[in-house]
Amino acid sequence: MTAVRCIDLCKTYRQGDQDIKALDHVSVEIKEGGFVCLSAPSGGGKTTLLNAIGGLDIPDSGEVWIAGQRIDNMSKGQLAELRLRKIGFVFQAYNLIPVLTARENVEFVMQVQGLPAALRRGKSTDILTEVGLAGLEDRRPAEMSGGQQQRVAVARAIVSRPALVLADEPTANLDSKTSDALMELFVELNRHHKTTFIIATHDQRVMGYARRLIRMLDGRVVDDIEQNAA
């Protein structure tokens, strides 16, 4: 079954006097349970594509379908609901809400979803243990390392079992050891929970973990290959 389908997406930004084509007739289809890396140099369009898939950015033309549902023509409220229920996000930085503890950050999405406190607590304890943060539940982001913060963000992204996790440069601020640990966690979660992962990166090490690599340049898909993951 198809998790994500993008059909002929175009998106142009205005920068000064110049029009920048961030997406230039991009069409991509990703199956459920896929582990895909979007690779491009800076300005290549990977983040724009990721944002379009996540309903954070609306393409100028084309269609975006998530789990059989067209989203590019949805209202803000519908998009918010879609993101809340079906998509988990991991951003490059500033992933966490500073005034909340690790557990509260993880529970944030579930709380907005309206899950009861006892259920939230159980799930957050389990997921924080799974990502190796048992014992750090009550720490605030400022009291954790960058790698630990990213793990909390990953825990939050997957705790409510979304069909799709979108990660934008998740290892950009991490050292290689922490990056490897995080990617192994992604792979593990993908295998265990069959969650679809789409990761935007220009880090070769990260690309090595993907089973499918989509290369972009100047807003266009220039290469789309299946590969043996690390």
Partner: protein, 411 residues
């Protein structure tokens, strides 16, 4: 409900992210609220005292007169009913405190000087609890009965006339035939009043003695009735009107002394204006604080929106933050006002400026009066206007595009 809970948690914690700014803003709100309540208590106390003193000089909450009495308050404008008929009717009605009296302009003369005054021919037993004089005798005694042949004058008048307790004075007025009506009296009592003008102009004699002097036996020209609450004289007015019948004018104190009556409504308006002015000064700080708080958290707001939080929840989060800040300020401001007003309940001596104050009827001691409606009004003004002032930054925060807000972090 669940989003309101997380909004409240975030609002509370965000409030304390910048302790100094929050404490300064809370201090500003507290001082503003304190100023609203304390100043209102002072003004309310002053005006209430003015009104009470004014009513004491009338005295009574509702009065009955001849329809032309107010234009020409003389002996010719007697009530159509006899004194005994009025007494019978009003006693039967069961009023707690009422009195029929004769009140005329007169000239008082000592061996040294003379002055224009108002002569009150009263029944001392009925006037107790109604006029201030009975309790404010500083020399001698109050009148014994309606046939007492002495007079009670104010200490300022005694000083002006260079007379004193035990000395004789002459009171002179006109009878209904416009003939001179005069009589010698001995000063049996001297009273002090809060306002010097009362001491200078009010002279009290026994009712029957005054009626004899003015040659109007068993007649009066004023009935005064005292009710429970001077702010709500409507029911009493209706009752007295029904009882007094036709051919007379029945008026509440608010119309008998329009200046005094208008003081209350002017005061209510002034209190509201004062509170709004104080709040306007506060609102700049409040809005600035919220704008800064929102500006510093653009990325978090973008993140929350990206994670699926609805814009309305962001709006409520900022509003809750503002209301929490206001609520803390209100709590401290209210306690501060209470702690300031309560020790001053026995009065603040402003005798240094008493003469100036007396020009508009205020006494030389201010009694701050903390009234629940004023406290509630201050709280409502701060909460409602604070809420409205917070809407703009909160609305702006809720309108962010998630990706733009997050991108700001990356750039």
């Amino acid at each position: 409900m669940h989003t309101l809970r997380i909004s409240a948690t975030l609002a509370w914690r965000n409030l304390w992210r910048n302790h100094r700014r929050t404490i300064i803003m809370i201090a500003a709100v507290s001082i503003g609220v304190w100023a609203m309540i304390f100043m209102t208590a002072l003004m309310r106390g002053m005006v209430n005292e003015m009104v009470r003193d004014g009513i004491a000089s009338l005295p009574g909450h509702v009065q009955v007169h001849h329809p032309d009495f107010r234009d020409d308050p003389g002996i010719n404008k007697l009530l159509p009913q006899s004194d005994s008929a009025v007494t019978e009717r009003f006693d039967a009605a069961g009023f707690d405190v009422w009195s029929g009296r004769i009140k005329v302009p007169a000239v008082i003369t000592s061996e040294r000087d003379s002055r224009g005054v108002i002569l009150f021919g009263i029944d001392p037993a009925r006037e107790r609890g109604m006029t201030f004089v009975a309790d404010d005798i500083v020399e001698g005694r109050f009148l014994d009965g309606v046939d007492d042949t002495g007079v009670v004058i104010g200490s300022k008048l005694a000083e002006t006339l260079e007379t004193e307790l035990g000395k004789r004075i002459v009171l002179m007025s006109q009878d209904p035939q416009n003939e001179i009506a005069d009589r010698g009296f001995r000063v049996v009592g001297v009273f002090d009043a809060k306002l010097e003008s009362y001491e200078e102009t009010m002279v009290f004699a026994g009712k029957e003695t005054a009626q004899k002097m003015l040659r109007v036996p068993n007649r009066i020209n004023e009935v005064a009735v005292l009710g429970g609450d001077y702010r709500n004289v409507g029911p009493l007015l209706r009752e007295v009107k029904e009882l007094a019948g036709t051919g007379v004018e029945v008026l509440p104190w608010t119309e008998l002394d329009a200046y005094l009556g208008s003081m209350l409504s002017v005061m209510d308006g002034f209190v509201l204006v004062w509170m709004i002015v104080v709040f306007l000064a506060l609102s700049f700080g409040l809005v600035n604080t919220l704008v800064m708080a929102v500006f510093e958290r653009v990325r978090e707001i973008g993140l929350m929106l990206a994670l699926g939080m609805r814009p309305s929840s962001i709006l409520s989060q900022i509003l809750v933050e503002s209301l929490l800040l206001l609520a803390i300020g209100l709590l401290i401001g209210n306690l501060g006002a209470w702690a300031t007003v309560v020790p001053l309940r026995d009065g603040i001596d402003i005798s240094a400026v008493a003469e100036g104050m007396e020009m508009f009827g205020a006494a030389s001691v201010l009694y701050p009066q903390l009234e629940l409606p004023d406290v509630l009004l201050a709280n409502v003004v701060v909460l409602v206007l604070g809420f409205l002032a917070s809407l703009s930054p909160a609305w702006r925060a809720s309108r962010y595009e998630p990706i733009e807000a997050i991108t700001k972090v990356y750039q």
